[in-house]
């Protein structure tokens, strides 16, 4: 049996792909960041949360607090909360929704603007963090955050995770699981939502035109919370 022209072409294409694939993979590896390398502004990490898929569960909250060693002291007013489920009800129509709310990792974060010592800072890749060594505990950032996303550590902490330093008298918030992101993994909330929840949360590089999150943001409607403040949040919502 003689192969026809079409089949030859297909084999040729397969051979070319097989030859090029390792090379492409090398390019990808070359672009990946080594642990010693600083975060790059080529990336902008973010989340896309489709709240039409968000149900009454709190898998994201449980996973976040487990991952980051956030424990409750049974004092709701002062316990730290890095992520919370918020229930909404339209005051006119009664339409009810629920969504996870955390640090929105703004491009222009008010918390960073107001911090007197520069302890609140934004990494080049858009992740907003608190330097635990220079935070003096003034709480001005908590006053400035439009999303009430920050917590002040009101008492001695125990059971800290090696990757997630915490300290009494300092302010903290969602880190977008920066320790996982730097290892190439996704934040704990996103993973848990995909596994145990409604699969409402997606994580990725907003700048990478080939990423799923970028493509969805380009082709589907989405919104920011308090978009009027023009902070260009890294966390976007659908169905809000």
């Amino acid at each position: 049996m003689n192969p026809d022209r079409r089949q030859v072409l297909a084999w040729g294409a397969a051979a070319t792909a097989a030859a090029l694939a390792p090379g492409l993979r090398l390019v990808e590896l070359a672009q990946a960041r080594s642990p010693q390398e600083a975060a790059s502004k080529l990336q902008r990490w973010g989340l896309l949360i489709d709240i039409t898929k968000c149900g009454e569960c709190d898998a994201c909250v449980t996973a976040c607090h487990e991952e980051n060693g956030i424990t409750s002291n049974a004092r709701p007013a002062t316990d730290a909360q890095w992520i919370r489920k918020v229930s909404l009800r339209d005051t006119r129509t009664g339409y009810a929704q629920t969504l996870p709310l955390m640090c929105q990792h703004c491009e222009h974060p008010p918390c960073v603007d107001v911090c007197p010592t520069g302890a609140s800072f934004k990494r080049a890749d858009g992740i907003v963090l608190v330097d635990k060594h220079t935070c003096i505990g003034c709480r001005y950032c908590v006053m400035a955050c439009p999303y009430a996303a920050r917590s002040f550590v009101h008492e001695t902490v125990s059971g800290q995770k090696a990757d997630v330093p915490r300290g009494k008298g300092t302010v903290e918030a969602c880190t977008l699981c920066v320790h996982r992101v730097d290892r190439g993994a996704t934040p704990a909330c996103v993973e848990a939502c995909g596994r145990d929840g409604g699969g409402a949360m997606a994580f990725g590089d907003l700048n990478d035109a080939s990423s799923a999150i970028h493509r969805r943001l380009k082709s589907e409607p989405s919104s920011q919370i308090r978009a009027d403040l023009a902070l260009n949040t890294g966390v976007r919502y659908q169905g809000l």
Binding site: S87, P110, T134, E155, T170
Partner: protein, 398 residues
């Protein structure tokens, strides 16, 4: 021209010792409170993740605002050339420094990590109004100290007017900075207004002068110095103008909000349905801190009325700062317009706050520190004139 004779207070009476003992006890209580808060963490206070600034901040902001205002009497003498105020200028400069020291002590001791103050002195984010304030406050100490030196040292007297002008401009910038701590909070409806900077300036005029009048009257009375009606009546009129100006700015702020539909809920909270905050606004800030002092200042010429008016301004001022700082945080942040919001983090509800004993002790300790520093300084250096009797004042001003 007869020169003004200044003299230290004697400071050997039982009353003076008792005063320092009481103030010292309050300072120690304040320090103990700060240590307790530091040791256990802020969960032992009434503050929470919704009310992150509590009673200590009310006292601190009140004292810092009053400090810049206390300098006004000296400014009127140096900058605006009113000779009548000149004998009062030294005390005015002293109170500016001591009130600021008391306020800053409270602010610093309430920090989550007060031992890291050195970090705040070595790491600056110049976009932060807090960072500017660190320079404005330390600069204020230095400038007022130099200003006092030009008043005390005869050879430096000729520089007094220029230093007075610098101190006056600096204090306006400083209070603008304090007001802008709140004015720049774009995401919170109760703040987010450029009006807060000038409002804080007129508040400083009023609070600072009220404290000045009380300290002056107490200082003269307890040390047997004559204090004539000419000086007091001038201060009485000035205080009246300042109180009325504060009421004007407060009215404009609320009227502006009432005009803007998205601020209606906030105004309903502050003026009508806000419980303790509404009560403090109408009874504390407006009635005790505004209308009553105006009636006392312009309705009668008695000294008791002046004292009562000044006390009213201070009580009303504390109520005003309480409503602003704590009421402003208690009001829920607007996250989702048109939606009712609920969460485990107390979104969408008015946050509750009950001041705890350590917080109050820290705040009162700051007041005690300011007064103790004043009392000690009056004994060490000649801040007070020997006499402020009408005849002596007229001779000095001639």
């Amino acid at each position: 021209m007869a020169s003004i004779q200044y003299r230290e207070i004697d400071g050997r009476s039982g009353g003076y010792a008792a005063l320092l003992a009481v103030l010292g006890a309050l300072i120690i209580a304040g320090l103990a409170a700060a240590w307790t808060m530091e040791h256990h963490g802020h969960h032992i206070t009434g503050m929470s993740n919704r009310i992150v600034w509590g009673i200590p901040h009310v006292f601190a902001v009140f004292l810092i605002v009053a400090a810049s205002g206390a300098l006004n009497v000296a400014s009127i003498a140096s900058v605006f050339g009113r000779e009548l105020y000149k004998p009062l200028a030294r005390l005015s400069g002293l109170l500016a420094v001591t009130l600021l020291a008391g306020g800053l002590a409270v602010l610093v001791l309430d920090l989550g990590r007060p031992e890291r103050l050195i970090v705040a002195m070595t790491h600056y984010n110049f976009k932060s109004i807090f960072a500017w304030n660190i320079f404005l406050y330390t600069g204020f100490f230095a400038i007022v100290a130099l200003y006092l030196w030009t008043m005390f040292e005869r050879r430096m007297n000729r520089h007094s007017a220029r230093m007075g002008l610098l101190a006056f401009v600096w204090r306006l910038v400083l209070t603008t900075g304090t007001g802008s701590i709140f004015g720049f909070l774009v995401a919170r409806e109760p703040y987010d207004s450029a009006l807060l900077a000038p409002l804080f300036i007129v508040m400083s005029f009023s609070f600072g002068l009220a404290i000045f009048v009380l300290v002056l009257m107490a200082g003269c009375r307890w040390t047997g110095r004559a204090l004539g009606d000419v000086v007091l009546n001038r201060l009485r009129n000035l205080l009246g103008v300042f109180v009325a100006t504060v009421l004007y700015f407060v009215a404009v702020h609320h009227l502006t909000n009432l005009y803007i539909a998205r601020q209606h809920e906030l105004e309903r909270f502050l003026l009508w349905e806000g419980g303790i905050y509404t009560a403090l606004f109408w009874l504390g800030q407006i009635l005790i801190g505004g209308i009553l002092p105006l009636a006392l200042l312009y309705g009668t010429a008695s000294r008791r009325a002046l004292v009562a008016a000044a006390l009213g301004v201070i009580v009303g001022g504390l109520a005003q700062v309480y409503v602003l700082i704590i009421g402003g945080q208690a009001y829920p942040q607007l996250l989702f317009p048109g939606k009712e919001v609920r969460s485990s983090f107390f979104d969408g509800v008015v946050a509750s706050y009950a001041p705890s004993l350590p917080e109050v002790a820290l705040g009162v300790g700051g007041v005690a520190l300011a007064l103790a520093l004043t009392a000690v300084a009056l004994k060490v250096l000649p801040f007070l004139p020997r006499s402020l009797a009408d005849g002596d004042i007229a001779a000095a001003a001639a």
